[in-house]
Subunit: 644 residues, 2 copies
């Protein structure tokens, strides 16, 4: 029984207030029942946000019959653990039935997980790791603004959560880019798991939003639906002091509101009631105790959710004309040129299909031409990588291929967990790290990311490409843009000569097509194979020449596609002769480990060695660093000959 | 020619001011010369902080002849890129010669890297990734406070850097724990790589420190050595409004101060002068141009740094009496009990050798008893994992084994890059993740860390242990505490029965000793081997029984030590018969990949299969999640039989 509230009215009618009170009673019952049935979950915060959530869904544009309707406002639950409250309210609004929810909650294979996920109709984002949600909401608001839509984004946050530093980054960004279409509601119940927010880590929530330029409204009772309506309505209609700035409502609430013996107790953050307590609570609510009925229903096999989950929308992209380089070029310039070329072909006629983000490194990551071509699609996020990564993925779900570029240690290592949540959310995020490996050189070990494969392979939905030269970079970037889904592209920093075919022409020239999951035999050879990728490929080519000069007919297999990987080519190599992997990457977690897995999975007895980074690199020229770890041509030749 | 400044005086003498001006001239020359010689590096910020650094080293307690002197104050350079400035000032103070620095700077194998590292005498920490340094300084200050020492920590930060969210976390923590022994100097030159700080990402630096409860002092000219002395002296002597709170000095400076054509240009953040520009700059400084002499000297092979680097000090720890469990217990309770027992044996007579940190999860991670026993050694950091990880590692270098506990997704995935910097710094940090894998259950995929091995293996100096039951957990925790260095220990969430020997007694009982790098043959068998660890070990034992009942004599090798790993045992298994790995971890990046690497490295043709997590887990009971991915005993039996 959904309730539509008229924003033309400045306050609620008595009928509306009564209706909301009745909806609260129904939803409070569901919150308590669902968590007790599952014997786990978060009733306290669910009861804390409940009144505000009910009013919010009464005010916003949404369509329970079509949760995918593109015109809808977005509600982003940064506090993903209040799922019982969210599902209760969505059920009340007709997105699904109470039975779906109560029989499925927190059961493996059902559509109603412990933290909110898109598999539930009406849920916009799989959340749960605190501190990331505001960045996600900022990304959605940025996408709407970019597209000229007046849709709003409402983000629900906790007060304990405010301790996470990423939130400070998101606040600043939303201020800089004037996201007046963003409303944050902080559920200020002063309770977190280990006590009051003051005991655990005191924080001036409104002070921090104010310092960051936001409109801030304090509401003394977030359970007073009429007061909340009056406040929310002003924020929604832009009746605020700074109309071009986002608005934060800090609403004083009570943890576990409405059940006398639960209120203000931190234990009910994450603990359900037992059956006696539930009976008591139901008495207070004045509802029948039908726990046993539902417990019985939950003994049936779990019903698979047949509803359509909230899908990410991918843009149609034109790949354009490849650019071929025949002189020394850095891969990052080839990336910048490809991105610029793609923008010229796709960001046309006011449409934005490709966006770009960097963090105080526009020049280093070669996004300057893209920025000039598509100024409204380029975002300088400052030195705020956590925010930038979360935001970029959220932008990418609105029919935009969103590129995020910085050094490998920041694009991969620093934001590993942000990218993990984007992986779970099946976005269209393109992470391009322009400075990977020892090739970073003089900046030393803190700046040399040697774990980009080792980390990215822990995701299930990121393709991972590491091109071998500027030409392959151009092709890889075009493929990564045209294809939907998350992609990581890594490259070194230095200029390099294009890899040549034996006839002296660019191997990755105009006729070359990059195919995910396919390796490239740059040289064929019967005496064994060197498998490589990325910045050390020129060293491998030099080693190939050295071995050839000594009469060894060696093949070179370039593996730009790391995930998916060309398992057939690896098997072919291992059956042919000795296999040596060479990479500017931690020796135990990169391509060498992947090749080892393919060999072992296939039960092959191969002569096999791995060359890679075996200790943190020093600060110095890449050539010296490579030589010190046997990754120069001499080291490669020597190691290969040991296998013969 | 070091200069000692007397803090009893309220201002500098004319002689001192003149001496500092001359020191500046000498150091400015070194900054420009070193970066031009290396053709890379950061002259701008080095010239910006130079005057303040010179005064700071005149004021603090330190001993250039013994950079390891325990009574010294600590200077933490969060802006690690201003290494030319730091090395120049340290040379001026007699830590090493100018020649050492100028011939070695940014050359592979030398002792003078591009970002400051402990290999340079006088440098306290390898830094370079912005935003982490304040947390490190907070850790040092917390360690001094814990030990009752009046030593001070001085942290130099950039203003662009203030954008990083982790800094907000560190500010709050330093306020909560009253770290009045901490002084932060923000080099406020308003320039970052992509423009002014206002253009890139505007931020009210002093406003944020004020909101977080700090003493804030604004200084209008950080190049006026007398003014800076007067300001710094007050902060150092505690002559501030809130004596128990940390103090931040925001000093207005000029990027590349002192060279007219470089001043205020963001390009000089990270670009050196070419030779013509250098000649011009040297004219302005009034110094001889000896570039060619030094360039010639740099052609000689790099001199290896023979100085002692700044070592981490490890405590002597007593391992105590093991605790053996014979009924169902969760590993995290065994961890909590072991930690409590270790505290009772080691945190005695006022000494603190073991410290603990958690992030709003004290109860879940079972640190309550430790907290009660050692209240001054337990720190509740709030929901601020980035800060907690950086801080904990810094605490650990002061003869303390510092434990940091939270869920796997937060202890590993969220703070991967913070732990990477701790790995580089060779600390004594003990990261214990109490909720790993699908065993986390109903909280769903955002909370199920299935990458803890895949990530931790990218470090070079973290041992990685995943115990199989509460008894092995007890032994592993004791070993991890007694042994020096970084250790990760991961475990599941659920209660489990102890693993039994064939005679029905606890396998990891009183006689068991855990040895890093050694696997445990829990069952011997000739028909093949199942290699496993952690929360799925009971499922493997059940499968072993099932296979035995069907007449298959299978061995079970429990690999609690993942890094280092027992390569010999793996080879033995692979030579014996089929090998199946079973793990509650991403199937491609965990133990299965390690075993594959050992098999392939040794050229063995083994019958080999890997069972693990092949897709994100659902929200539900661990048993259901295991069954859905063939990680229950039925799935293990079925898979093993496919190999026979």
């Amino acid at each position: 029984m959904a309730l539509e509230l008229n924003l033309q009215n400045t306050e609620l009618t008595g009928d509306e207030i009564a209706k909301l009170a009745e909806m609260r009673r129904v939803c409070a019952r569901r919150i308590l029942l669902s968590t007790s049935l599952a014997a786990s979950g978060h009733p306290g915060g669910s009861l804390s946000t409940l009144d505000m959530l009910l009013v919010t869904y009464g005010c916003i544009k949404h369509d329970p019959k079509d949760s995918q309707w593109q015109g809808r406002d977005r509600v982003l639950m940064s506090i993903g653990h209040v799922s019982p409250g969210v599902y209760s309210v969505l059920a009340e609004n007709g997105y699904f039935t109470e039975e779906d929810f109560l029989t499925g909650f927190r059961r493996a294979g059902s559509g109603f997980p412990g933290h909110v996920e898109r598999i539930v109709p009406g849920v916009e984002w799989d959340t749960g790791n605190l501190g990331q949600g505001l960045s996600t909401a900022v990304g959605m608001a940025q996408a709407f603004k970019m597209k000229g839509s007046d849709q709003k984004v409402i983000c629900y946050m906790g007060d304990g959560e405010q301790q996470k530093g990423q939130i400070a980054e998101a606040m600043r960004y939303a201020n800089k880019y004037n996201l007046g279409n963003l409303i944050v509601i902080v559920d200020r119940n002063h309770i977190q798991i280990c006590g009051t927010t003051e005991e655990v880590m005191d924080i001036d929530v409104t002070g921090l939003f104010e310092v960051s330029g936001w409109n801030v409204i304090k509401l003394d009772d977030g359970h007073d639906t009429n007061k909340f309506f009056q406040t929310f309505r002003k924020a929604y209609l832009g009746e605020v002091a700074k109309t071009d700035k986002p608005t934060m409502i800090e609403a004083r609430t009570v943890m576990a509101k409405g059940i006398s013996f639960m209120e203000n107790l931190s234990k009910y953050h994450g603990s359900p009631l037992n059956q006696e307590q539930l009976a008591e609570a139901f008495k207070e609510l004045g509802v029948d105790n039908d726990f046993d009925k539902w417990a019985e229903l939950r003994k049936a096999p779990v019903a698979t959710n047949t509803k359509m989950k909230n899908v990410v929308r991918y843009p149609d992209i034109v790949g354009g004309e490849p650019i071929t380089y025949d002189s020394k070029t850095d891969c990052r310039s080839a990336y910048g040129n490809a991105l610029h070329s793609l923008a010229k072909d796709n960001n046309v006629g006011g449409a934005i299909k490709i966006a770009g983000i960097s963090c105080d490194l526009e020049g280093s990551v070669k996004m300057g031409d893209f920025h000039k071509h598509s100024p409204t699609a380029y975002f300088e996020a400052g030195i705020q990588e956590h925010h930038a990564a979360s935001m970029g993925a959220a932008i990418s779900r609105e029919e935009i291929a969103c590129f995020f570029s910085t050094f490998g240690v920041f694009a991969v290592s620093e934001v590993y967990n942000q990218n993990r949540i984007s992986d779970i959310n099946e976005t269209n995020f393109k992470v391009v790290a322009t400075h990977c490996g020892l090739d970073v050189g003089e900046d030393g070990p803190t700046h040399q990311g040697i774990d980009y494969i080792g980390l990215m392979r822990n995701y299930f939905r990121f393709n991972v490409y590491i091109p071998a030269d500027p030409n392959q970079t151009d092709r890889v970037i075009r493929t990564a843009t045209v294809d939907s889904g998350n992609v990581f592209v890594g490259m070194g920093r230095s200029k390099m000569a294009p890899i040549l075919a034996e006839d002296g022409t660019p191997f990755f020239g105009n006729d070359y097509r990059f195919t995910p999951g396919k390796g490239d035999w740059v040289r064929s050879g019967k005496a064994g194979t060197i498998i490589t990728y990325g910045a050390v490929t020129p060293n491998v080519m030099e080693a190939w020449q050295g071995l050839k000069d000594e009469g060894h007919d060696v093949g070179v297999l370039v593996m730009a596609s790391i995930a998916p990987v060309d398992r057939d080519a690896i098997v072919e190599a291992a059956q042919k002769g000795p296999v040596l992997t060479v990479e500017d990457h931690h020796v135990d977690t990169g391509l060498g480990a992947i090749v080892a897995t393919v060999i072992a999975d296939n039960g092959l007895a191969a002569t096999f060695k791995r060359l890679g980074v075996t200790r943190y690199g020093a600060s110095g020229k890449p050539a010296d660093l490579y030589a010190s770890q046997d990754l120069d041509s001499a080291g490669i030749v020597k190691t290969f000959k040991e296998m013969l």
